[in-house]
Symmetry: C2
Subunit: 326 residues, 2 copies
Amino acid sequence: MRVATLKDGTRDGRLAVVRGDGAALAPAEGIARTLQAALDDWDRVEPRLRQLADGLERGRIAGERVDVERLSAPLPRAYEWVDGSAYLNHVRLVRKARGAEPPPTLEIDPLVYQGGSGVLLAPTDPIAVVDERWGVDFEGEVCVILGDVPQGTRALEGGRHVRLVMLANDVTFRNLVPDELAKGFGFFQSKPATAFSPFAATPDELGGAWRDGRVHLRLRVSYRGEIVGDLDAGPEMHFSFLDLLQHVARTRAFTAGTILGSGTVSNADPERGISCLAERRAREMIAAGPGGKPTTPFMQRGDHVAIEMLDESGRSVFGRIEQAVT
Amino acid sequence: MRVATLKDGTRDGRLAVVRGDGAALAPAEGIARTLQAALDDWDRVEPRLRQLADGLERGRIAGERVDVERLSAPLPRAYEWVDGSAYLNHVRLVRKARGAEPPPTLEIDPLVYQGGSGVLLAPTDPIAVVDERWGVDFEGEVCVILGDVPQGTRALEGGRHVRLVMLANDVTFRNLVPDELAKGFGFFQSKPATAFSPFAATPDELGGAWRDGRVHLRLRVSYRGEIVGDLDAGPEMHFSFLDLLQHVARTRAFTAGTILGSGTVSNADPERGISCLAERRAREMIAAGPGGKPTTPFMQRGDHVAIEMLDESGRSVFGRIEQAVT
């Protein structure tokens, strides 16, 4: 089952289920007004949403045409947005470029940060930038939406807390990062509002591609109209979503609707391309040798980025994030 | 006006207004079910809540007896919890104790971190600790609840976005901090769920004590039944709430219901005491000279902490946070 949220002038929009071909949707009238309401009461609501989705699939319900411009993020605001950095190639590459060692615990202790979650962007919202010198970058990510997670949840039992899967563009202002991290309290101004894919899918919708707490599909990234990344989101995700879940739940509980992200999808094979400009710039710096400068600039006003994930049949599972810098 | 949230078995509880003497409250039936709903529609809801509070004050409404055990945090879950570190004495003291310099931008660039906001503790909830070796500490703080804040909001215009003021106990697992900050992504496991005061007050309820975006009242902290802090929360708050607001709104917007914290209240005069054990330990380390060890342990199971703020008339403005480690 896939769900989406229709903009309707309210803060949380209106929940809908999406037809298999992604061309039609049916508002979940009388079942749950919003996705957060559905997540708050998932055991009761989910079967009824599936019934609606089934009616839409079989043509018993006509549904409405999907217009991505009318969709907000599946959760236009969320109670938490916790983002990992689970693709270690990304960490190694970026640190190597600036001559820094990765943390010695890189492979055993996940990197995660707490992101802002009160204002989340729709898949086609512009990336509003006050100053291009902030160094605007995209980051293509996979993420999951959780149900209630008790403190102390272990990875082995984490799977049952995963409600939905979707994509994110975790926009980063790269040039604000160094000063911010030097202060020791993590990212803040360097992480503006994150955008999410049009659709969120239940794990079973991914079939065998959802396994070991990872999404074994390709993430396709286009930049300025050109495909710049065709990355395998599966095997190189060193910490699975379940590992990340165990890590973050060590000292506190999470409420339903918490979003947990993978961090920038990254493959060691440069042929696979990039899901963020920082990696291309890192490779350029490494290739240029000590003191080498990157040649790829960050995003400029008017630049477009698109992020989507195709399944084996070529279907865009989560729809397409498509944003331009303004 | 002061508001509180009654536990009623739902995730967000039931909004109530509180009588001036803090002894009675009236549920906001038919006005706004929850505090979040009120904040979402504040301009329409606020006058009606004030009318209800007035009826309670004048005895036209009998109200119910306030039982703090029946109250949750004013917002049992919030869309964001952003915490500053605005009392520079705290930063200087703690860094001096470990022989580190404060960041060179300490006085011009606020330190803030993004906290977890999906599960917030009631004023009398226990501090549930799996392992005492985590180094359990309390942190008495003042915080504000914001209305919608557009990106780019400046300090000068920030005042009109402050809806409510309350207190927090920003529990910290001190011994998890160093490894976590060494990884560069800020706090995560070291910041378990935060507890909040029983009542939240509109700024006008504080009279002249709310000025310059600061609360000019004393924060009273008791630990193990003894008053350990009687701190002036006003003048030494180097960055006001409005300064913090300008800082965090530089690159993104905030939704109504965002909580913004002051960081540990701290005074340079040691006679004023402490609002966190880390400061007492820091003073002990500094007094003991190079390599000196602190003698005060962190909280142990069974230890109690209480945090409240008294106004000029001796009234506990926000009620009392009172927690024990379990």
